[in-house]
């Protein structure tokens, strides 16, 4: 990774942001997606909202890869679908190549559709069973009217070859292929328009373990060869490990920890990340610190309709204290490229006894407003990383 410093593409250009991985192709800023819940009956009133995604911010560098990890139902797919604009976001910005596409109307969106594509989770429903492979892969070209009809076939065959399928099979139907092969067809379709960003929504979790590695390798080759950026969604930390230099961990619609691979895998500061990590079989970890104990989380994920107050993880968190119910922990930058949202952030076994965030929020250790604490500190809330951060051990701001 190069170490140059480039200003962000965001609206706020006053704060310079260190982006060693390059300019972001995608910047998601405080993204929210609420699904209305309608009452039954004739007049369908909105009686509540599923807060599937609630204030998510991150960046994906040009040609880079961000892993988005979390349990089922935490809003990963929804995030992916909002970014690809299958849904219109409730709030926040989706800046693609510097331009906010969050509010674009379908017509204005069409040029961006070429640049952002998606690889779907289920290879059995992601291909139209009534279309041949050729027309599935060629559809993007036909829709965007990019090449004359006669050339579509040769492009399709080229793509089939890229994803490791027999180019002569363009005339077959999806049901004649296995799950892994179908996923390759889906990948070929996503590549047809030569996108700059691919959102891969659990692209291998429906596949046999033996096939998973092959497909991940294919994605890796594609990334190297075509320089496509990836938002790689997965439900555990094992799959994204070799693919993504940066990882974001989501819980119930929010990012709880985000940072460089190494910081997440070896220096996770959030109890939820630590629980997820304890489930990853890990040889290297055994070498440095002995086998990690499996941390079992009690209880179920709460409903995103009525998320817990304060920290959303508190109903299952082994460290939860009073402040966790009263104050929402800010996503605090605690290292050059590492942010965490926890009042008691710290490496496993080294969590502090007093909340590290109390003074920043202007509250006392129980989370009550504290007049003596002075005004809350302005925190860096931009999607990227600042070049100053908060040192949780010294409890002060640091500059490199």
């Amino acid at each position: 990774m190069t170490d140059q410093t480039i200003p962000t593409m965001g609206a706020d250009t006053s704060s310079t942001v260190a982006t060693p991985a390059g300019e972001p192709i995608l910047e998601v800023d405080n993204l929210r997606m609420y699904f209305p819940i309608k009452s039954g009956g004739l007049i369908r009133r909105t009686v509540g909202h599923v807060q599937a995604v609630d204030g998510v911010s991150f960046q994906v560098p040009v040609g880079g890869a961000l892993g988005l990890v979390g349990e089922s139902g935490c809003g990963k797919s929804t995030t992916g679908r909002v970014i690809t604009r299958l849904y219109k976001p409730t709030g926040g910005a989706i800046r693609f190549d510097g331009r906010d596409i969050g509010n674009l109307k379908p017509r204005a969106l069409k040029p961006f559709r070429r640049d952002i594509q998606m690889i779907f989770q289920d290879p059995y429903t992601s291909l139209n069973p009534r279309h041949t492979v050729g027309s599935i892969i060629g559809a993007p070209l036909a829709i965007h009217n990019l090449v004359p009809k006669k050339q579509i076939l040769s492009r399709v065959q080229e793509l089939l070859e890229v994803v490791g399928l027999n180019p002569e099979h363009y005339n077959r139907y999806p049901h004649e292929f296995s799950g892994g092969q179908r996923q390759r067809i889906g990948i070929a379709r996503a590549l047809t328009l030569q996108p700059k960003l691919l959102v891969a929504d659990e692209p291998v979790s429906a596949l046999d373990v033996s096939i998973q590695a092959q497909v991940v390798n294919l994605l890796q080759d594609i990334q190297r060869e075509f320089g496509v950026a990836f938002l790689f969604i997965a439900h555990d930390l094992a799959v994204v490990r070799h693919f993504c230099p940066e990882i974001a961990v989501m819980y119930l619609g929010k990012i709880v920890e985000i940072g460089e691979r190494d910081r997440i895998y070896r220096h996770a500061n959030h109890p939820y990340t630590q629980a997820l990590l304890s489930a990853v079989p890990d040889v290297k970890q055994a070498a440095i610190g002995g086998r990690r104990e499996r941390i079992r989380l009690e209880g179920d994920v709460p409903s995103p309709i009525n998320p817990p107050s304060g920290c959303r993880f508190r109903t299952r968190c082994p460290l939860a204290q009073e402040i966790c119910a009263r104050q929402e922990p800010p996503l605090l930058q605690i290292g050059p490229r590492h942010k965490v949202a926890c009042h008691f952030a710290g490496e496993l076994g080294q969590h502090p006894f007093k909340p590290v965030t109390a003074r920043l929020l202007g509250v006392d250790d129980q989370g009550n407003p504290d007049p003596g604490a002075g005004p809350p500190t302005e925190l860096f809330t931009q999607p990227g990383f600042a070049d100053t951060w908060f040192d949780i051990k010294g409890r002060s701001s640091v500059e490199p």
Binding site: M118, L127, I143, H144, G164, N166, P174, H175, G180
Partner: protein
């Protein structure tokens, strides 16, 4: 209801991986071809299919045979009737020249009349079925795919249509409607206008079932990822509805088609009985049946001919519908 596709794939496809030899000699079989293969194995369906095809061939041939003089549905034969205008000879006057005898009253050849009657009956019920299916499919797709208030409005229209006292309205409105059809639309008065009236009425009242089934299918298809994929590619609504969703609907469409068709054959007969459909001398199975009812006791062969032909086509079409459904959906309905 789902098509056999998912199920099939689990059995047919084995993961060969990219390195595995891919040149296995498997002929490319679309889901349609697989369904056809299942259909062919089902004897009862095949028999009913052959009967249905036979009817359609007969219906197509009749106008030419009439023109060629082989069938004479309009020629009267007073000389073959007795003083009570009943056919001379046994069994309704069956002879070499008139294999099904002659009509009591005017003495027209029964075979010619029922044969030619099939043509009109099938033409009317087929057109009405097509109309109902087209309205139903479009309404169902639009309703299911767009949701929201459009869906709600179409739902209310369906309720209203079902609540309508069809037969009464049909009778009450027929003179007004016929006047409208001839004067405003310029359709020739008489049989063409009446036929059009029956087609439109059957179509306008018959689409609701199709719309409901299609809507249900669309609701489940809409959540399939291939629909999302098409949206992501920037496909237009038209493309989404008619290129992505519609091809996945032809199974339920075909099934509803084969089930509506026999219902409309019966309905046409009932309407003819009420005097709404085409009038004699132009024959339909319905209006021949109506005439023959008064001779049920005196001339059984005459009465039996149209009734038998209607029963056979209705039963065959229903069996065909069941067979088609089973072939397309091997999981359900044992």
């Amino acid at each position: 209801m789902t098509t056999g596709t998912e199920l099939e794939s689990h059995f047919i496809a084995t993961d060969l991986g990219p390195e595995a030899p891919e040149d296995r000699k498997v002929a490319s079989k679309s889901p349609t071809q697989l369904a056809l293969a299942r259909f062919r194995k089902d004897k009862l369906s095949m028999v009913s299919f052959v009967i249905v095809v036979f009817y359609f061939l007969a219906a197509l041939a009749a106008p030419f045979l009439v023109q060629a003089g082989v069938l004479n549905p309009f020629t009267t034969h007073d000389e073959l009737l007795d003083a009570n205008t009943l056919p001379l000879g046994g069994f309704g006057g069956i002879s070499w020249d008139h294999p099904l005898g002659v009509e009591p009253g005017v003495g027209r050849d029964v075979l010619s009349r029922v044969w030619y009657g099939i043509t009109f009956s099938l033409a009317i019920s087929l057109s009405a079925t097509l109309l109902a299916v087209i309205i139903g499919v479009v309404a169902g797709i639009v309703s299911g795919a767009s949701g929201g208030w459009i869906d709600a409005i179409i739902g209310r229209i369906i309720d209203l249509t079902l609540a309508f006292p069809q037969t009464l309205m049909l009778l009450a409105l027929s003179s007004v409607a016929l006047a409208f059809i001839t004067e405003v639309l310029g359709v020739p008065a008489g049989d063409p206008a009446r036929a059009l009236y029956v087609i439109v009425v059957l179509g306008l009242f018959g689409w609701t079932g199709v719309a409901r089934i299609v809507r249900g299918q669309v609701l489940s298809l809409r959540e399939r990822e291939f629909v999302h994929a098409a949206q992501l590619l920037g496909a237009s609504k038209m493309r989404l509805y008619f290129r992505e969703i519609l091809p996945n609907l032809w199974a339920p469409i075909l099934v509803t088609f084969t089930l509506i068709m026999p219902a409309f054959v019966s309905a046409e007969a009932a309407l003819a009985y009420l005097g709404v459909s085409i009038h004699p001398p132009t024959p339909t199975l319905g209006n021949i049946l109506r005439d023959s009812l008064s001779y049920a006791q005196n001339d059984f062969v005459y009465f039996f001919s149209p009734a038998f032909l209607i029963a056979v086509i209705v039963v065959s079409f229903n069996l065909l519908g069941d067979g088609v459904r089973d072939a397309l959906d091997p999981k359900g309905h044992q």
